[in-house]
């Protein structure tokens, strides 16, 4: 399994590189780097990225990287975000990460300068609305990261609406006797969406509110080093509102898993 780190500038992207390498180590994967330069433009020196295999490409960045992901069987693509600038900046998603999120078949790790760095991945947060298609992130988290000594927090944010998808399990709308309903719901929620054969610990956490800010706050409060959520890659029609919010506010790196609707 391989993490491919898209590096545009070794200095600017040093947090990206560090987090991606830590992620790879936590999952037991390899890490490689790719730098795409314009024709005739300067490349990166290997010394800029010690102990990291560097692939040097020329051309349009998103296209070249997407092609490499598909061809080289990359399992996770790591891309840097730029900090949102100015009061009216609405997105920290630059044009290359934006293009890659829509095209990459592999999960994408997004790191913004200033985020809590990913080191040993002792705790990760997986926001879940409780629908099967949005649980792709949970499956990815379990497959890659479930291990002893690591906690995966399944965060369910309760909103007035409920997913329409068959097989969904949002927080119960009817609670006859609280002391029985919630323990039964948590057990079913875990059984339905989590599957860790390696003895890792799952914890279900329930919050109420608007998903974006609640997830960011919970990640900060719990010391999570990674937020894993699924997204179709499109902002059209209001989709991806949570992703959009977290791009700007998440206190730690985001791992976006391609798949169903936004996780929350």
């Amino acid at each position: 399994m391989t993490v491919l780190i898209a590096v545009s500038d070794a200095q600017t992207d040093r947090e990206l590189v560090a987090s991606a390498r830590a992620l790879a180590a936590a999952a037991g994967w390899e890490a490689r780097a790719v730098h795409v330069r314009e024709a005739g433009g300067p490349g990166l020196a290997s010394a800029d990225l010690p102990d990291l295999e560097l692939i040097d490409l020329t051309g349009e960045a998103a296209e070249q990287i997407a092609g490499l992901v598909a061809q080289a069987r990359v399992d996770v693509l790591a891309v840097g975000l730029r900090a949102a600038v100015g009061p009216k900046a609405t997105s920290a998603l630059g044009h290359v990460p934006k293009a890659l999120l829509g095209r990459s078949s592999a999960p994408v790790l997004l790191v913004r300068p200033g985020m809590r760095p990913l080191t040993s991945l002792r705790r990760l947060l997986v926001p879940m609305e409780g629908s099967p298609s949005a649980s792709a992130a949970m499956k990815a988290a379990d497959d890659a990261f479930c291990a002893r000594g690591r906690e995966i927090v399944m965060l369910h944010v309760v909103t007035p609406g409920t997913p329409a998808e068959s097989g969904s399990l949002p927080a119960p709308r009817i609670v006859d006797q609280e002391h029985y309903e919630w323990s039964a719901w948590q057990e079913e929620f875990t059984m339905r969406f989590a599957q860790c054969p390696e003895g890792g610990r799952h914890r279900v956490s329930v919050r109420v509110g608007t998903p974006g800010p609640v997830i960011a706050a919970e990640a900060k409060a719990s010391g999570a080093e990674l937020i894993v959520l699924s997204w179709s890659g499109s902002f059209a029609g209001g989709h991806g509102a949570v992703v959009k919010a977290l791009l700007a506010t998440a206190p730690c790196p985001l791992l976006i898993v391609p798949g169903g609707p936004s996780a929350v």
Binding site: I174, Q177, W185, R192
Partner: protein, 1063 residues
């Protein structure tokens, strides 16, 4: 074989009766393996086989050696009518033996010796065989020890020649002589027979055997003589004496079919068909009987009803939803409930079997009284073409499970293409017997589709995926093929599971050992079914583990009947129950299904006779709520049973009566008098509500219901009163009901306290609306408390009128004085109820009107957990209602409050009710319908139906919502059909939803059975009523009238009066 004989044999016989020597075998030295295998197969198919012979068990069983899998189908009638054996897996067991008295023995000897004396006097050498049971054999030709049947002609010639030397005409005269001398010796009815070599003088003969067959295998098993085939080889005369099988032709069996396979040199009597051919033809007749039954068995795998309105079908396999599906497909019978998990298991499966009434101490946090689940009895593992068959092996081609609600059976149809490329089909049919509640069964069939191969079923017994309060389970190997599992609860009850797995009749598979495992299998060709029957018995006890023998006996009952007969009786029992319970809605298939689904599960969960169990909040299909009993039973589910199966209603109330001691203890512990029923009840009738629990985020929350939710005592009293008024069961009321009402009334009188305002108050309670805890003067609680006291006094007055002696004894036992009763009534009259006669609205509790308003849009969409979405602190201070509270009060006391009061409270509380409880929407639907608010009623009805059935909420994963089901029934019957009790009469005021073209339903009321058919007709309502067994009082347009047994048609235009169109 002649055409007549073929025609006579062209049918299945339920009983095959045959002679041994000469019929089934040529002689005593012949190899009987061919007979043995056929006899065993016939028994496995449920045929009764009777061997009738003059010889003894050592000879017959020693040669036949048949060992049917199940005892009760093979019988040996031996020693010429003196002995009866039943043969099972362990060999023959003596059932009856006619034992000669000493006098009779002496008489038999005297008779035989007199015959010998006579013949010796004629110069013949004669022996006597003395050692036969109840007879003596006079050997007429000792020099020929063992003449074969084939030489019967020569034997006859030589014997007659010998007898001629003594001056006798032949064997016939020897028989006559023996009869006369036997009578002279004192034997009044000797059995004299001859096989030419001997004359036998006995106390019994084959007539006695045939009469036993008639009694035990025909009449005793509900059959007729024409259901039996009798095969022999000597019906006709042998020489000048009767053939040895002649005596089987008793008059009572004149309609049975008799066939001779013998030579019959002198012809056969008119009743007998001569087939000849000896044992070879005998075997061919058995083969024909086998082929007929095996063909039927192969083609008759049980199938669900084809009627869509009775089918609850689940297609495919969705691991996300599988736990909900398992709950939906629970098969239960009030004694046990088994989740609908797939037999072979899967990563998503949570198989479990729950046993009603068996609890133990849990060890979780907090420690709560929990059920003790039984081991999973449904496990069957299939291997085909060498690989394990599962949903994960290869590709799922087809998968459908159908709950046949009409007959209480869950069917499964599954086709899979394995990774190896082979395809197979699997079918199962599972049920928990409603006819014999200790018994459960599943039949499983697997069949290769395109290519043959080896199929092997292995039985598995696993642990229920349920946790629980099990202390230990001990598995024991059983003598019959299967297991016995003894389970003990922690400081509680226990149960024993006994189960067996056998090849199903007609399936070409056998049992054998494979690597020390007991398996059933064989090599199959495409279309051959590998079918097994798994039968289980569960016996339980509240405070101990029952004996293993009890479970074995129960299992033996199942095995004797066999799967097919168990299924037939089970289906018949369900048909019987539906006759008085079915609710037929024309025009709205979804509502029809929701109602039948609810009724099915209520019938499945209520036990009609076991007074130590009740209906838990989540039924018998899931561990949620630990099978604990709440007010859900009396207020929501009990009305269904009162009006469709009062016997069950009575038993549910008897559960509460038996637990009066626990209720008195709780009242006492809380410093009150009388009986305070526990909020949550398990097996001991004491409070089992945990003091704390864990909220959505794992935070500890105190649980106050056990301390403060006291309305349950009045709810039980309400159940008692409603039952009594609807059934007129005065015996119950006198023996139990009055005491329950008095003790709960006594509690309320002591619970209420006099305030500074000279009014009585009930403070610090939790009402049905659990968002507000520790409130004062909850209207539901106070009004019901007052009602409880009033009705208790009324009940006592009634008892004093009808049985003053018992009333006095009861008063004495309860130490109840007139003064105390006066004090109760004083408190009741002065009890605050929050009612405003101007607005007609009950203030839900003191200070409710001063609470914060919440914009209605914040309480939508419903159902809505306001305490979660708005926060506990907000709901505690707000006019937000979790569930029907004041509205519930107006509904259950509908004969106390006018429509104006009902309307006022509904209009006030409905907008601010979140339906955050499953108990709520059904009741709101009933009330809205009654008020003619059909839009609201339908919306609430569908909301209730979706609680367990919606596919995007997962509510049913850990159990069914029994109160919702009861609420749906109440909405349909009391709301939409508008049939409600008022005093001792039924009010009829339908408000059918637009999509309900017609609704038909039966009700039982005060000894009568009524069938209602209601529909909208030309801008009005039309009601057909058939009344049976007793007259009924009906209320039409406010006027009560008596209607005698008969059929009536009522009609009314909208807003118009009722008109009785036909009587």
């Amino acid at each position: 074989m002649s055409e007549d004989i073929r025609r006579a044999l062209d049918r299945e016989f339920a009983v095959l009766c045959f002679d041994w020597d000469g019929t089934a075998v040529t002689d005593r030295r012949a190899d009987a393996a061919a007979v043995r295998s056929r006899v065993e197969r016939l028994c496995a198919l449920g045929v009764d086989v009777a061997v009738v012979s003059g010889t003894n068990v050592k000879n017959v069983d020693g040669q036949l050696k048949a060992r049917p899998d199940v005892s009760g189908h093979l019988f040996l009638f031996l020693s010429r009518g003196s002995e009866v054996y039943v043969v099972g897996p362990d060999g023959p067991r003596l059932l009856e033996r006619r034992q000669a008295t000493a006098q009779e023995d002496a008489q038999l000897t005297a008779a035989a010796e007199a015959v010998r004396h006579k013949l010796v006097a004629g110069g013949l050498d004669i022996d006597i065989v003395y050692d036969r049971l109840n007879r003596r054999k006079v050997d007429l030709i000792p020099e020929w020890p063992d003449p074969p049947k084939a030489q019967i002609a020569e034997l006859q010639e030589r014997v007659n020649a010998r007898l001629a030397r003594a001056g006798m005409r032949g064997v016939g005269e020897a028989v006559d002589l023996s009869r006369a001398l036997a009578r002279q010796a004192g034997l009044d009815h000797p059995g004299i027979t001859s096989d030419l070599k001997h004359v036998e003088i006995g106390l019994t003969d084959k007539r006695d055997s045939m009469r036993y067959v008639l009694r035990a295998l025909l009449e005793g098993r509900g059959r007729r003589p024409e259901d039996m085939l009798v095969l022999g080889d000597e019906f006709g005369p042998v020489g000048d004496s009767e053939g040895s099988d002649y005596l089987t032709l008793i008059p009572e069996l004149s309609r049975s079919t008799f066939v001779s396979v013998g030579v019959e040199p002198n012809g056969v009597p008119p009743r007998v068909l001569p087939a000849a051919g000896g044992p070879a033809v005998f075997l061919s007749i058995l083969d024909d009987q086998l082929a007929r039954r095996e063909a039927v068995a192969r083609e008759s795998f049980p199938a669900p009803t084809a009627e869509p309105a009775w089918r609850f079908a689940v297609k495919g396999f969705d691991p996300y939803r599988e736990r909900e599906v398992e709950t939906w497909l629970t098969v239960a019978n009030g004694e046990t409930g088994t989740r609908g998990a797939v037999e072979e298991g899967s990563a998503a499966s949570t198989p479990a079997t729950f046993v009603a009434g068996v609890f133990g101490d849990g060890t979780g946090d907090p420690a709560v009284r929990q059920p003790v689940p039984a081991p999973d009895w449904t496990g069957l593992r299939l291997q085909a073409w060498g690989s394990v068959v599962s949903l994960a092996n290869g590709e799922l081609l087809e998968h459908e499970r159908v709950l046949d609600m009409r007959h209480g059976v869950v069917y499964r149809y599954w086709r899979q293409r394995l990774r190896s490329g082979h395809t197979l089909r699997v079918r199962t049919a599972r049920f928990a017997s409603l006819a014999d509640r200790q018994l459960l069964a599943v039949r499983a069939e697997a069949m290769p589709e395109e290519e043959g191969g080896r199929f092997v079923w292995a039985a598995a017994v696993g642990v229920s995926y349920a946790g629980g309060a099990t202390k230990e389970t001990e598995f024991q190997r059983s003598d019959t093929p299967g297991f016995v599992a003894r389970t003990r609860g922690r400081h509680g009850g226990g149960h024993v599971l006994a189960l067996s797995t056998r090849p199903a009749p007609g399936s070409p598979v056998t049992r054998y050992l494979e690597q020390a495992r007991d398996v059933i299998g064989g090599r199959l060709e495409p279309g051959d079914p590998a079918t097994v029957d798994r039968l289980a018995a569960i016996v339980s006890a509240r405070t101990r583990v029952p004996s293993t023998e009890t479970a074995r006996r129960a299992l033996a009952r199942a095995e004797q009947l066999g799967y097919d007969e168990l299924l037939r009786r089970h289906r018949a029992a369900w048909e019987q129950r539906w006759r008085d319970a079915d609710l037929v809605v024309a025009g709205d298939p979804a509502d029809q299904q929701a109602l039948r689904f609810s009724i099915y599960h209520m019938i499945s969960t209520g036990h009609p006779t076991k007074e130590t169990v009740s209906v838990g909040a989540r039924g018998l299909g899931g561990m949620s709520y630990f099978l604990h009993v709440f007010w859900d039973c009396e207020i929501f589910v009990l009305p269904f049973f009162i009006y469709t199966h009062p016997e069950t209603a009575r038993t549910l109330l008897t559960y509460r009566f038996r637990n009066l001691a626990g209720a008195r203890e709780k009242a006492r512990d809380m410093g009150h008098k009388g009986a305070l029923y526990p909020w949550e009840s398990a097996d001991k009738g004491v409070e089992t509500t945990p003091p704390y629990g864990y909220g959505p985020d794992g935070e500890m929350v105190p649980i106050l219901s056990g301390l403060m939710e006291h309305h349950i005592s009045a709810d039980v009293a309400w159940g008692v009163w409603e039952y009594w008024k609807a059934t007129a069961d005065d015996a119950f009321m006198a023996a139990m009901g009055v005491e329950m009402m008095l003790e709960t009334a006594r509690f309320w009188a002591s619970r209420a306290s006099l305030g500074a305002d000279d009014r009585f108050h009930i403070r610090l309670v939790v009402g049905p609306d659990e968002y507000h805890e520790g409130v004062d003067d909850n209207a539901y609680t106070n009004v019901l408390a007052r009602w409880n006291i009033e009705k208790a006094v009324e009940a006592l007055n009634w008892l004093e009128r009808v049985d003053s002696g018992y009333a006095e004894e009861l008063r004495r036992r309860l130490v109840l004085t007139d003064n105390e009763v006066d004090q109760w009534q004083l408190a009741a009259r002065a009890l605050v109820d929050g009612f405003d006669p101007v607005t007609n609205v009950f203030e839900q509790f003191a200070g409710f009107y001063q609470m914060e308003d919440v914009p209605i849009e914040k309480l939508r969409p419903r159902p809505m957990p306001a305490d979660l979405l708005l926060g506990r602190e907000v709901t505690l201070q707000a006019k937000v209602v979790k569930q029907a509270d004041a509205v519930m009060l107006c509904h259950i006391l509908s004969d106390e409050f006018s429509d104006e009061v009902l309307r006022a409270n509904y209009d006030y509380y409905e907008p601010i009710t979140c339906h955050g409880s499953s108990l709520s929407p059904g009741i709101h639907a009933a009330v809205a319908a009654r008020l003619g608010r059909l839009g609201d009623a339908v919306e609430d009805f569908k909301m209730a139906a979706a609680i367990d059935l919606a596919d995007n909420m997962g509510n049913a994963a850990a159990g069914l919502h029994m109160a919702t089901m009861g609420g749906l029934w109440q909405a349909a019957v009391q709301g939409f059909a508008g049939i409600q009790r008022r005093g001792g009469a039924l009010l009829i005021d339908p408000h059918l939803p637009p999509t309900w073209k017609k609704v038909s339903l039966p009700l039982r009321f005060r000894g009568a059975r009524l069938q209602f058919d209601l529909k909208r007709h030309r801008g009005g309502d039309e009601v057909g009523i058939t009344i049976e067994r007793a007259p009924v009082r009906l209320i039409l347009d406010g006027e009560e009238q008596e209607f005698r047994a008969g059929t009536y048609r009522l009609r009314r235009a909208d807003a118009g009066p009722w008109e009785v169109v036909t009587r």
